[in-house]
């Protein structure tokens, strides 16, 4: 038995967005005559990826039960549209990444599920680079403290001039 297929595409093949942009995409579900769909969920979510537990946030969600689906429902592409929020922005860190995606999930009556994620970028936060950080701040890291900065030394309890 062939599994159902799900194909998701963004309008204009563009998958970079800014906060407040209207995300538009289409998905096509490939079904065999023997496939019966119990329900379909479409969502726009962000999730974290890294060394810790995965956090997930749901920005848009829609579930259609089989009663709302007809034999012709999947003969044409289905559309998803939503205004994207201000945060969290996509981020490519070393121990943590924030990823946005459009997720389509099919539920079959026998309990099987088929999920397809299509990733996109929200915002343009530059990925963290240790090398770039070192290069940008190398002079400050290597140099001796400026004597004039001493008055901001937070450990200087006696003078009471600590800024922090």
């Amino acid at each position: 038995m062939i599994d159902p297929s799900i194909r998701i595409g963004f309008e204009g093949d563009v998958n970079e967005f800014q906060p407040g942009d209207f995300l538009k995409c289409e998905f096509v579900v490939g079904l065999e005559p023997e496939h019966v769909i119990h329900a379909i969920e479409t969502s726009v979510i962000w999730l974290t990826e890294g060394k810790g537990d995965t956090d997930i946030g749901v920005h848009f969600f829609e579930r259609r039960q089989k009663q709302a689906l007809t034999g012709d429902t999947f003969k044409q592409p289905q559309r998803i549209g939503t205004v994207l929020p201000a945060s969290p922005l996509s981020y490519e860190g070393q121990i943590l990444k924030i990823r946005w995606c459009v997720r389509v999930r099919l539920f079959l009556p026998d309990g099987r599920q088929f999920t397809q994620d299509e990733y996109f970028q929200l915002g343009n936060v530059r990925p963290f680079s240790q090398a770039a950080f070192n290069e940008a701040y190398q002079d400050l890291i290597d140099s001796d403290p400026d004597p004039e900065d001493q008055e901001f030394d937070s450990t200087d309890k006696a003078s009471g001039s600590g800024a922090f």
Binding site: E49, G50, T54, Q94
Partner: protein, 199 residues
């Protein structure tokens, strides 16, 4: 041109129990483990060190166990009074199925609680599948987990089939983590990030 997302294949999202398949290194099969569980009267323990795949095995067994058990309640014991729980609901219910408790970290429960719980499940004809670092007396051992370097190699191929990792590097990672597969995958996560930085 659309951007492409490069996933770190060793992120916990891909390696957590339930996301990873369970790989046997001795020709065993999930079905034979389930048969052994039935033969033990539905009360068994899986024994193994940290990161050896005990929890992953319980998740891998769950779809097969659903044929005979409902509901399946899963508890993760963090300490004597700390635990998390979840319940797996099957799409169709059957009166012939019996409840199953899956308890991760059983040895962290107080001794008396363990005794009472085992007595309760036997009296109530409930299934009990536990994971523990050390064998618990009076409960049949379903499987003793013994992860090997080959297990790590096969998992790496499963997670990142196109990735080339030197065999001696993998062996060193496995040794440095004392055979702990979970920690080895964490080290591979770091290694993957350093490779991205270099390229």
């Amino acid at each position: 041109m659309p951007i492409t997302v490069q996933h770190n294949p060793f992120a916990t999202r891909f390696t957590r129990p339930g996301a990873l398949p369970f790989l046997f290194n001795n020709g065993n099969r999930l079905e034979s483990i389930v048969d052994a569980f039935h033969d033990c009267g539905f009360v068994c323990q899986i024994v193994g060190q940290h990161g050896s795949g005990k929890t992953t095995l319980t998740y891998a067994l769950e779809p097969i166990l659903r044929d005979n058990f409902h509901p399946i309640r899963r508890f993760t014991v963090r300490g004597p009074r700390q635990f998390e729980s979840s319940e797996t609901l099957t799409p169709t219910r059957s009166p012939t199925r019996i409840p199953l408790l899956v308890i991760d970290g059983f040895e962290k429960l107080p001794w008396l609680h363990r005794r009472l719980l085992v007595k309760h499940v036997r009296d109530q004809r409930t299934g009990l599948l536990i994971t523990t670092h050390q064998p618990i007396g009076g409960i049949p051992v379903l499987l003793q987990m013994l992860p090997t370097l080959e297990t790590l190699q096969r998992l790496t191929c499963e997670l990142a089939p196109d990735l080339v990792i030197q065999k001696n590097l993998l062996a060193a990672i496995f040794d440095n983590n004392h055979g702990n597969i979970r920690e080895s995958l964490m080290t591979l996560y770091n290694w993957f990030e350093t490779q991205k930085t270099i390229t």
